[in-house]
Amino acid sequence: MDFQTIYNVPHDMPLGVPIAVYFYLTGLSAGSFVVSVISIISGRSDYKPIGRIGAVVAPLTLLIAPVNLLIDLEQPLRFWHLFVYWNPQSPITYGSFLLTIYPINGIIYAWFLFRGDQKLAKALGMVGIPLAIATHGYTGFILALGKGRALWSTALMPTLFIVSAMVSGIGLMIALATLRWRFFSKSSTPVEHEQDRRLILSLAKIMGAVALFDLFLVGNDVLVLFTSKVEELEVAKLILTGAFAPLFVGVEICLGGLLPAFLVFFPRTGRRVRYCFLASILTLIGILAMRIVVVIAGQSTPLH
């Protein structure tokens, strides 16, 4: 039968690209922080450069991230309401405290790490890991509790966010470690140089594995969308064959997921730093595409 909507009032999409970029930056921060702490706790001296890079990058990205939130507010000068008026049922209330505590912890951790106080750095790192995961996990809950949107309201969302955060965090570590290895290691001995090369290659393997796990989760999500209710089916069509297909299938899945995994696991490319560097850049782009698809496509199906 033919249907035609003659008149209707759609309202503007509430959350835009700044929110997607905010999710991306907290993800980068959480991922690089966890990588940094793990490499410090392992106690191996050859992992040290990664620990240091992560300790600097994690607080830096997290200082930029809330700026996106602030400019997205319609009443930016009222941001302090978040700390005075609480709603224990809202994930944003938890988030505003996590977004304050986590970077402070991260900065103190970096301070002790660079001062050479390993013991205190390790302790603060241990405290920081759950904080980092909570800081990024809560953003997943923001979307998961947005019950009206079919793409968002899945129990998989917080896990998906944390796993993709790990992918992008390790990706950023590889990219920065490669730059350091290539341009800023003039004073290092050949042995150290070789150590750093091996470190980059082994990090790339970990990134490839986590990226494949991330793809597995995305696959689960899409499969269930297809066998679920009308709105879920509609949004699944939108991202797989509709307007968001180039960004979702093209950039997120192929360019940012399958191709990097191939590059790091294929023996001929996996032992070359330049291909691992390329793979890390591709995952960084792919995860950014994932954030944009989730936020924007999630709001692109009509609600009434």
Partner: protein, 194 residues
């Protein structure tokens, strides 16, 4: 509120009355009438769906508001405290009915409040007062003698997206299934069906 669609003629008086009563700026609406057409000539029909905030019994927007600006009054009306709202737009994103919006002048979230200022003064909401077919009826559902309670008791009624467990408080009599479906009548939805 009960909306008896057998009496609705799709005149948009409710939308206009709402705009005038509540100073709703251009480009946004607190209440509007969705219109769809279906079928092929000569077997065609046009259906109306007056749309407004459902002032849900368990509202997702209130649960998700980080600063408690959205709240439910004791009588069930869901309000936004204009002085507390920070404009994070999370409530708009979580509402399954897309009835909330940012007021482009005041830069806060607004929606239909069942004209609570009139209701508190013992009057009817503007849309109810103005409805030429008397399709809209407003009252206390807990009072068995009220018009709304009697209408809901005597007629088959329906609400929008019952599956969201929000318990919407706008009841429709004689609503068209296709008018209530967000996907029907959209170009992309039509194309994907073929």
């Amino acid at each position: 509120m009960v909306i008896d669609l057998r009496k609705c003629v799709g005149c948009h008086s409710c939308s206009v009355a709402c705009k005038a009563e509540n100073d709703v700026p251009p480009s946004v609406f607190r209440s509007w009438v969705k219109i769809i057409e279906k079928g092929k000539y000569p077997n065609v029909s046009r259906s109306f769906l007056p749309s407004l905030c459902n002032n849900c019994e368990s509202p997702i927007c209130v649960r998700n508001c980080p600063v408690g600006a959205s709240f439910k009054r004791e009588d069930g009306i869901v309000l936004v405290n204009p002085h507390r709202c920070i404009g994070c737009k999370y409530c708009i994103a979580s509402c399954p009915y897309d009835v909330r919006f940012i007021n482009p002048i005041r830069k806060i979230v607004q929606k239909c409040y069942f004209c609570h200022h009139l209701v508190d003064a013992g009057m009817q909401p503007a849309c109810v007062e103005t409805c030429i077919g008397r399709a809209r009826v407003f009252g206390d559902l807990n009072d068995p003698n009220s018009d709304v309670a009697q209408l809901v008791a005597k007629h088959p009624v329906t609400v929008l997206k019952q599956e969201m467990a929000t318990q919407p408080q706008v009841y429709y009599i004689g609503a068209d299934l296709d008018a209530m479906d967000p996907m029907k009548g959209r170009l992309e939805a039509v194309n994907s069906d073929r």
